[in-house]
């Protein structure tokens, strides 16, 4: 193979340059070229130009491949590195002073690992000075090595520590200068909203509303301090064991991860299901970003899945930005329209169309909760479900309905006499609107009550008050009857009748 007749072709020279060095073809071609000066010259011509030669000789100074390691994602611990949790934890912790403990960091004796995520590892620990359980969150090594993430961690967690509220996990201490920065939080015994719903399925309307009210109150407290959570999701909402109390955790920490992952292009850990459209498109976010996420969380609580779903994270982001969610009432028929409407408004794509503040959301949802409790056994709508459950007394319910109908009938001539264009507003409308004030309305007074039947506003609010009282009495009656089915039926009947009379008394058309 050393005669000029068997020179290789340009195509073969390209194979030599670009294909695997040990492929059969490459080896075969190399065998010739290595011994043929003509082909070596051709190869040299083909492979380089003056530019690249110049760069190679001038720009290589300082090149240190081993140190650089700039491949994207290099800062993220690999699976292999994470495999041995115990070894990993030991790397973060000092040796324990007690044999049953996992380790120690500062004055905190680490008991066990309770969670881990993109930001770090969370341990249950004992504060040896105050002798109380705490949760210690240690910044992940890849973040603690990143100057920006480290600074952000300390800045944001100090800010979050200023939020003191019954629905926000308290931050006791921030150690930003430790080798692995960490923060010490109130230990909450319980589970996250995520695991609760995963375990027991969608929640009842009342539970959804309670969660909504509490979460919104917690958010309002943080927003008041200028802190936006940015990562509201079911996993960041804790439900305390035993009591119906919710606590939001990880305020402001989302940005720590953002800082570090910005440069690790292409790292998408998990699903962005609860992100707001403005986050998804990289726009500036304010407190209303949390409101959108809260809407998604409540949707999840009501249905068992987030409002925007897709196979891949990109698909989810696209849906968050461009698709309308399926209305909640369509997915879960138990959800009343008012609640469905609140969630629709939280999930508005444009922040300006959402509620203006978390405290408004809390107020509105508290209002729905209240009116829901009032409405259930009371007139109209509640009666229907009531009837279903209490066949025995359904005729009684019918009697109450008759009273209402009577009211309506009597008010109609009034309307005609006054020749008002609001004639369609009947007494029954009054009841409905009394029972279900719409979202955002501050007063309990019906907006569209048949004003014509009342001479002035005082009369009307007095009527509304009485009506609410009667509805409450009816509820008490029902609860009593429910809890004590052996109660004599006659007594129940008598009480119902007295309520019926009260209704007659307050009927404005009865008092000339």
């Amino acid at each position: 193979m050393n005669n000029s007749d068997s020179h290789v072709t340009d195509g073969q020279l390209r194979v030599l340059m670009y294909e695997q060095e040990d492929s059969v073809e490459s080896v075969e071609i190399a065998r010739h070229v290595e011994t043929c000066e003509t082909c070596q010259a051709r190869l040299t011509d083909l492979s380089s130009d003056s530019q690249i030669e110049l760069e190679a000789s001038h720009l290589f100074s300082g090149y240190e491949p081993a140190v650089r390691g700039v491949s994207p994602g290099s800062g993220i611990p690999s699976n292999a590195a994470m495999q041995s949790e115990v070894e990993f934890d030991k790397g973060l912790l000092g040796p324990p002073t007690h044999p049953e403990m996992l380790g120690r960091i500062g004055r905190y004796e680490i008991e066990r690992r309770i969670g881990s995520g993109g930001m770090g590892v969370v341990f249950k620990a004992i504060d040896t000075e105050l002798n109380r359980p705490v949760a210690v969150k240690i910044l992940a090594p890849h973040l603690s090595r990143n100057g920006a993430a480290r600074q952000r961690f300390s800045r944001e967690s100090r800010a979050a520590a200023a939020v003191v509220h019954e629905h926000v996990v308290a931050i006791h201490n921030v150690e930003a200068n430790a080798e692995h920065p960490y923060l010490v939080m109130q230990y909450v015994s319980g589970e996250s909203l995520q695991s609760r719903v995963d375990r027991t399925g969608p929640m009842s309307v009342e539970q959804i509303l309670r969660i909504g009210v509490q979460a919104a109150r917690g958010l309002a407290a943080a927003h008041l301090q200028g802190i936006v959570h940015r990562d509201i999701k079911p996993a960041n909402i804790l439900l305390e064991d035993g009591v119906e109390r919710l606590l939001i955790t990880d305020f402001g920490l989302a940005r720590t991860v953002d800082d570090a992952s910005l440069t690790h292009t292409g790292v998408v850990a998990g699903t962005p299901a609860y992100m707001s459209p403005e986050q998804a498109s990289g726009d500036a976010v304010d407190h209303r970003c949390d409101l959108f996420s809260l809407g998604s969380v409540l949707y999840f609580v009501a249905t068992g899945h987030p409002p925007f779903r897709a196979e891949r994270a990109m698909g989810v982001l696209h849906r968050i930005c461009h698709h309308r969610h399926r209305p909640l009432w369509q997915v879960n028929s138990n959800v009343p329209d008012e609640l469905s409407a609140v969630i629709d408004r939280l999930l508005e794509k444009r922040p300006s169309k959402r509620f203006t503040s978390a405290s408004t959301v809390a107020d509105v949802m508290a209002h729905i909760l209240q009116s829901l409790q009032n409405r259930r056994p009371s007139l109209m709508m509640g009666l229907r479900s009531w009837q279903r459950r209490h066949r025995l007394v359904s005729w009684m319910a019918a009697a109450v309905l008759l009273v209402v109908a009577g009211l309506a009938a009597k008010s109609l001539p009034n309307l005609e006499r006054n020749d008002r264009s609001t004639a369609s507003t009947t007494a029954t409308d009054t009841q409905v609107s009394t029972m279900g004030p719409l979202t955002g309305s501050q007063s309990t007074a019906p907006q569209n009550s048949n004003a014509v039947a009342f001479t002035d506003a005082d009369d009307r609010s007095a009527f509304d008050e009485r009506l609410t009282e009667i509805a409450n009495s009816l509820q008490v009656l029902e609860v009593r009857h429910d809890s004590n089915p052996s109660d004599p039926f006659q007594e129940f009947q008598l009480e119902l009748r007295s309520l019926e009379q009260s209704l007659h008394q307050i009927d404005p058309t009865n008092n000339p």
Binding site: S47, S48, D49, G147, S261, T263, A269, T271
Partner: protein
């Protein structure tokens, strides 16, 4: 904590439907992340501050992408992206040269400045260009080094960088002289392609 996320790249993916544009962004990050860090360190910044500057620069540029609108007259996204990043850096470095190193002005602001707003210092521009080319070359080298066998890389390193003759390198590495030549050509060819890729140029059919 399943959903910790890097939203910047994703939001870019939403905004930039063209996969070439996404690749351009990735190349931008790959080149600028170490480049800005190195420049900041060489200007006397502490390591942590240098990291911050890197973040700020990348964020500022990613925010500027809002202003990108595909338009044939404006050319490729990639060229635009690298142009604004370059202007940003030259402005930044020029200001640094004339101001004290304390206090940090808003980097995002600098991106809006045309290069003429603060007359770019020719020294600064030259320095930036050199560092930019160096970074690009190093990145390409990182890539190629992983593609070839260690002795192939060594043959290249000795002859192209450390100015060994082919014969000396062959002796040093216990290779045939012809093998050293082939190895050196292999690496150079791949380097040239890798640099071209980082420049966003179509892969010129492997060479000529």
């Amino acid at each position: 904590m399943r959903q910790a996320i890097s939203d910047t790249r994703n939001s870019l993916l939403l905004r930039l439907s063209d996969k070439h544009d996404i690749a351009a962004w990735d190349q931008f990050v790959a080149i600028y992340q170490p480049l800005v860090f190195r420049l900041a360190r060489s200007k006397g910044f502490q390591e942590a501050d240098a990291h911050d500057i890197v973040q700020e620069v990348l964020l500022a540029v990613s925010k500027a992408i809002h202003r990108w609108e595909p338009n044939p007259a404006r050319g490729r996204f990639r060229d635009w992206l690298f142009r604004i990043a370059r202007n940003l850096m030259i402005n930044f470095l020029t200001r640094r040269k004339h101001q004290s190193l304390v206090g940090s002005e808003c980097i995002a602001e600098l991106i809006d400045l045309q290069p003429a707003a603060t007359e770019p210092d020719p020294d600064v521009t030259r320095e930036f260009e050199l560092e930019y080319r160096r970074e690009r070359f190093w990145l390409a080298a990182d890539k190629v080094r992983q593609q070839v066998k260690p002795h192939t890389w060594d043959a290249f390193r000795l002859t192209a960088i450390e100015e060994y003759s082919v014969a000396e390198a062959a002796r040093e590495l216990d290779m045939k002289e012809g093998s050293v030549v082939v190895a050196r050509c292999r690496v150079l060819a791949r380097l040239r392609t890798a640099v071209a890729e980082l420049e966003g140029q179509p892969d010129e059919e492997h060479g000529k």
